[in-house]
């Protein structure tokens, strides 16, 4: 039974400058939890996350037979971090996206979601009853599932039912677009080998080759299946599942083992730009996302390989993804500038269109190139200049995307790097991911997967 919550009354009852968090918790968050399906026995205030003395304001989970969450306090499903509307000195706590308070709250939630007692937590909310945002946690990644919404009397009911709908149907997959606006940075190699490394960790993986150059398709020795992805884009009656090609390799006994699924690229895609087919694709660059949606409950990871130019194919890939993984090169300064464009311009452009908080860019990494200290120094000097320019000209803080380890009081400008191996390039000719041919390469791609995705 769903009871109607008197949200107007609730919102009216909270002082505009309420500075006591506990009031927000009692008057707003408790009814919110109730409305999204967590009763008194299914939530716990001041939940210990297991990370030092950290406590998250609320943890919640549906009760199971013989396991009352309020009693067992084990395996939470949802965490809620609550703020007041103002601090004790009367200054507003502004949780709208991008403010320092918002960024702090988001980091706090991320820390809680990754804490030892919260391994099972899939969802997180930050709110101060003025703003609210829902996040989904997938492995190590936290992605927004709604925008940071300004709460009003006329939208609160919608917000609540939307949150409820989302958390009752947690998707299995994280969709990752591997993209840099500069070519030759190892996008395809990364997609294939990251997919292979994730498979080795028992994850179910789908690769999507959305590049008309068809590098991924060709280097895995595949071709278009019964239906092509491109046809599915134009013809809504086609079943996209028929576009899937399994990628198999032979094990030691000579038996074929299915590694991951691939949606190959279609040679027709090449003609896309000059054939006038663009007009036949409804919703344009938003179409791919709709098409891939059916796979969200089937795979653990969906990796999309995109071409370089910021045109239909790349826009589609970024639009369809939860996160954007950006390879770069230390010896290619253009790749750094282009990475900055992706983070500062392209991702926000898509985010504005999507209106659901996504996608988000992950910190860049350097892929497979031998490097000297001098080159590294040049790269870091260039990054410093890029960060300064973004800060002064666009008030955009790029630092978390380039130097994510940098902290107050300690400078750590290390950027995650994959070393280069000749075997990686050779593997393309053998139509087998390098991860399956060389154990050292495998360990480095596993390291990449752990750095960005896998929770241990």
């Amino acid at each position: 039974m769903v009871s109607i919550t008197d949200w107007d009354g609730i919102l009216d009852s909270i002082l505009p400058n309420e500075d006591t968090e506990i009031v927000i918790r009692d008057q707003f968050v408790k009814p919110l939890l109730e409305a999204i399906g967590f009763g008194t026995q299914e939530r716990r205030p001041e939940f210990k996350t297991g990370n030092g003395s950290d406590k998250v304001d609320f943890a919640a989970r549906k009760n199971r037979v013989g396991d009352i969450f309020a009693n067992s306090q084990a395996n939470p499903y949802l965490l809620v971090e609550v703020k007041a509307r103002a601090n004790k000195s009367g200054a507003k706590i502004n949780l709208s996206e991008g403010t320092p308070q918002y960024l702090d709250a988001r980091e706090q939630l991320r820390r809680y979601l990754l804490a030892p007692n919260c391994e099972t937590a899939q969802w997180g909310i930050i709110t101060n009853s003025v703003h609210i945002q829902l996040f989904r946690r997938h492995g190590k990644v936290m992605v927004p599932e709604t925008a940071c919404i300004y709460i009003k009397k006329d939208n609160i009911t919608d917000i609540v039912s939307r949150i409820r709908r989302l958390i009752e149907n947690t998707p299995k997959a994280l969709t990752v677009c591997v993209y840099n606006n500069k070519g030759g940075v190892g996008k395809t190699t990364t997609t294939i080998n990251l997919g292979a490394a994730l498979r080795k960790q028992k994850k179910k993986v789908l690769l999507v080759d959305f590049d008309s150059q068809r590098d991924l398709t060709k280097s895995l020795g595949l071709d278009v299946g019964a239906k092509s992805l491109f046809d599915c884009l134009t013809d809504r009656n086609l079943n996209v599942r028929e576009a899937i090609q399994p990628f198999k390799i032979k094990d030691r006994a000579g038996k074929e083992v299915r590694i991951f699924d691939v949606i190959p690229s279609d040679p027709k895609m090449e003609k896309y730009t000059d054939s006038g087919e663009a007009e036949t694709i409804q919703k344009g660059a938003a179409r791919l996302r709709d098409l891939l949606e059916v796979f969200n409950y089937e795979y653990d990871y969906i990796l999309i390989d995109c071409p370089t130019q910021w045109l239909f194919f790349s826009k589609s890939g970024v639009y369809a993804s939860d996160v954007v993984l950006i390879p770069a090169k230390h010896n290619g300064l253009a790749s750094l500038h282009n990475a900055a464009r992706v983070i500062k311009d392209f991702v926000p452009e898509v985010k504005k269109e999507r209106k659901d908080g996504g996608p988000v860019a992950l910190p860049i990494f350097f892929s497979g190139e031998k490097t000297t200290d001098a080159q590294l120094h040049t790269a870091n000097t260039e990054i410093d200049a890029i960060l300064k320019q973004a800060r002064t000209e666009f008030s955009f803080d790029l630092q978390p995307y380039f130097w994510p380890r940098e902290r107050r009081g300690i400078s750590d400008r290390n950027i995650f790097s994959l070393p280069s191996y000749a075997t990686v390039a050779d593997a393309a000719f053998a139509h087998i991911p390098a991860v399956f041919r060389n154990s050292i390469v495998a360990e480095h791609y596993l390291n990449l997967a752990r750095e960005y995705f896998l929770y241990e």
């Binding site: 070393p419 050292i440 360990e443 480095h444 596993l446 390291n447 241990e456």
Partner: protein, 263 residues
Amino acid sequence: MSDFDNIGKLMNLPLSDIEPGEEFSESEFIVTAAAEAVCQTGGRNWIPVIVKEIGDYQYQVISNHFVYAVAQQAELERVWCIVIEPSEQNIEQAKILAREATPKVNLTTASRETILAALKFLIAEPGSALKGVDAVVASNRISLADRKAWSNLSPITTLKCGITKGKKLDALRKIFFLSVPPPPPPAPEIISIKQASRDEIVERLSYLVTYKVGGFEKVDSGAAADAIFTASKGKWKSLNPIAKLECGIVTAQIKTLKQVFKL
């Protein structure tokens, strides 16, 4: 800390009351120049020496040995010091904070991330013997190995991660140590295998499995005990037939069995 002692307080102590701690060396240039800097600013050292009390009005340097050396060079009459509670852990902590000691990592329990970070640190040190070792590969393999059974670091050399006996392994000792497992309790009394009850067999096999004696950790003690107990042992002239029962115990392990069984 109380009004009647010096613990935790910043004290201006006579230099002659302070004994040097461990041996410390620094270039003459640096010490002389630092002494000059102190003298030019009124002879007050703004970074304190860390000392412990070793008797009434007697102190010994624990950490910040450099500042003590500078005070000597500058011939200061009194030097600013912090007196610390002299527990072993506090002394170690003060040395770690002053970068005079390297923190240690228990390799028996360390996480993969910790091992990776520690290896990266060791490899990056100037003149490191570990130069060329792939920290990612090495930390992966070390973290996957059964470290609980290690009594020293040598098993690392069998992991094929570029860390060989000699200088490379020695370099690891700077940071890594192993918590020594407590010695196993005495083995159960030796009994006749022909007369032993099933429970007595299980008890003895479990002992070998639990304390990983002679490669027994992979043996299923329940299944092996069943096989041994139900076998017709009348004609046995030794324990050797056990290896033919296909119960997970092989000929090489018969010798170990003799620690708890006789015929």
